[in-house]
Assembly symmetry: C2
Homo-oligomer: 325 residues x 2
């Protein structure tokens, strides 16, 4: 953790105030250095009160993603978020992480952008990522798995995302196979998993995640208002993006550890419990082809197992799934 991250962490742990001397002691720096870091934090929007009796107190936070702040909120994780980078604007955070991957950066790095000019969803679709309204970020993973198994990571990410939303907002989201998070039938988050691989060995996987956090209905184009929603719309209150980001990364780290330990079946159980797709009659559109059937289960590679209308079992690894009403 950087010094700024440690200061923010100490301020949050001591809402009643912490003195400059205490901070200096904890961090092993001078009181003048503490003061100078506090000044820098104020410049990026943190309201830090300096009281002669109580010491420094955190009174307000900027609505901005700051790497030091995210590191401080997240605390210690196994892999994900040990390195966090925040960009004001990028084409797509997946592009940034792809470059880092090729430069040999270790797994676990997370790249956020306040906005993306070319955010993308599955199947080449555009993903809208307006400034400061949501969380748009990508992770670099280097799991020892075969390309076929990477659907496990989408399933694990969806499970983590659903749980973090519940922890943070008390909203009960559902998962739509393979990569969407819905609240009351409307999409609130999506995951695009990109991979680079040899035939039988993954080199790296980049899950890209978009969460609609603080949009008002008017922030969505009219044609999307029935299909998309935000946590703010559903919770009725503004959500701290930074706090949510920390919760999401913590849950992602936990799920990734479970995948790497070979415990996909645990994740899969939780996933199935909260999946709107399993047990329903669905239509899968794959290119020009339509397959109808009942979604029966998730297999151990993360594929959806369908009992087709002809009674055969069929593994679905892609395409668009829609639940029949």
């Amino acid at each position: 953790m950087t010094t700024d991250a440690k200061i923010l962490s100490a301020l949050r742990q001591n809402p009643g105030g912490v003195s400059g001397a205490e901070l200096a002691g904890q961090l092993g720096i001078s009181r003048a250095a503490v003061w100078s870091r506090i000044e820098e934090l104020r410049k990026v929007g943190f309201e830090i009160e300096a009281d002669p009796h109580f010491g420094y107190r955190l009174r307000g936070e900027p609505d901005a993603l700051l790497a030091d702040d995210l590191l401080a909120r997240l605390g210690k994780t196994k892999v994900i978020g040990r390195d966090i980078r925040v960009f004001g604007q990028t084409t797509s955070t997946n592009d940034v992480v792809e470059k880092l991957a090729r430069d040999g950066v270790p797994e676990g790095v997370v790249v956020f952008a306040e906005s993306q000019t070319r955010g993308r969803g599955r199947l080449g679709r555009k993903w809208m990522s307006p400034p400061r309204k949501g969380l748009w970020f990508s992770l670099l993973l280097r799991p020892a798995m075969r390309p076929q198994q990477t659907t496990q990571l989408t399933v694990a990410s969806a499970t983590a995302l659903r749980r973090a939303i519940l922890i943070h907002t008390n909203l009960n989201a559902e998962i739509k196979w393979p990569n969407d998070i819905l609240i009351a039938g409307r999409k609130v988050a999506g995951i695009l998993t990109e991979l680079s691989a040899e035939l039988d060995r993954v080199r790296h996987v980049i899950p890209g995640i978009g969460i609609d956090v603080n949009q008002d209905p008017s922030d969505f184009p009219p044609e999307l208002r029935k299909l998309a929603t935000s946590l703010r719309i559903e919770a009725g209150d503004k959500v701290s993006r930074a706090a949510l980001a920390a919760d999401v990364l913590r849950e992602l780290d936990r799920e990734y550890s479970r995948v790497c330990a070979g415990n996909f079946s645990e994740i899969s159980e939780e996933w199935v419990e909260h999946c709107e797709t399993i047990g329903r009659d669905v239509t899968v559109q794959i290119g020009d082809r339509k397959i109808r059937g009942r979604a029966e289960s998730l297999d151990d590679e993360g594929a959806l197992v369908l009992r087709t209308e002809h009674g055969r079992l069929q593994r679905i690894t892609g395409g668009d799934v829609s639940v029949e009403k």
Copy 2:
């Protein structure tokens, strides 16, 4: 085709000679321009005789890969080799093509290097690529397929490679699943297929191919002499790398068209006929795990289908296969 490629093509079509006036007419340029291009070709090593009676005649060729020369030899193809680039030295031609892919270069581009400093084989192994001894190159493909189907491209590449070697040297090579070409049990060429994909959609595939062409036994380290060979060792004569390259690209183009047209079963039949693995008892090493069985067939995604010692059918999509003696 460039002007130089057209001149080389005309010289090869007219071994008895072609006049400057004829060349100028065919190419729509002045005789002075023809003369100046001929001078340039001489500089890179082509021996071009200018005879007052017969005109220009091609008497000798450099042992070098030149993009114009390769384009001229290859002629018209559907996809592969419409754009050819030759580097003196690279880390790995796959790296160069990967960069081109990200820059949006259309599929079909082929990158050769006279030598690679970090040529790689499957499973992170090193691939030796000494200067001017072999063909080290990579292709950019953008097929509309799912990641699981890309093994088809390795199978198609191996089939093309085997056929080109037969056409060019009359040597009967065998294929070892999934990516090796052997002559009399020793490896003469290999294919490393790398892919970039979403979960259910390939963005691009880069087959990297290495062919040991003109090595003498002493060019191989002692520990490899029983395992590796070159076309020169097997044919007993030096092989024109440029002519072989054109034959290989032509066959690759043909096989790629068959894959894209959905005719993988045709390729698969030819592959099985020349595969040393099918019908044999094999051991597959996947990480720490060993699977024993009889290699029965190739399935429609290019996986090896094994009848295990316990009688079950198992699809093999990776690992090291060795044939039991």
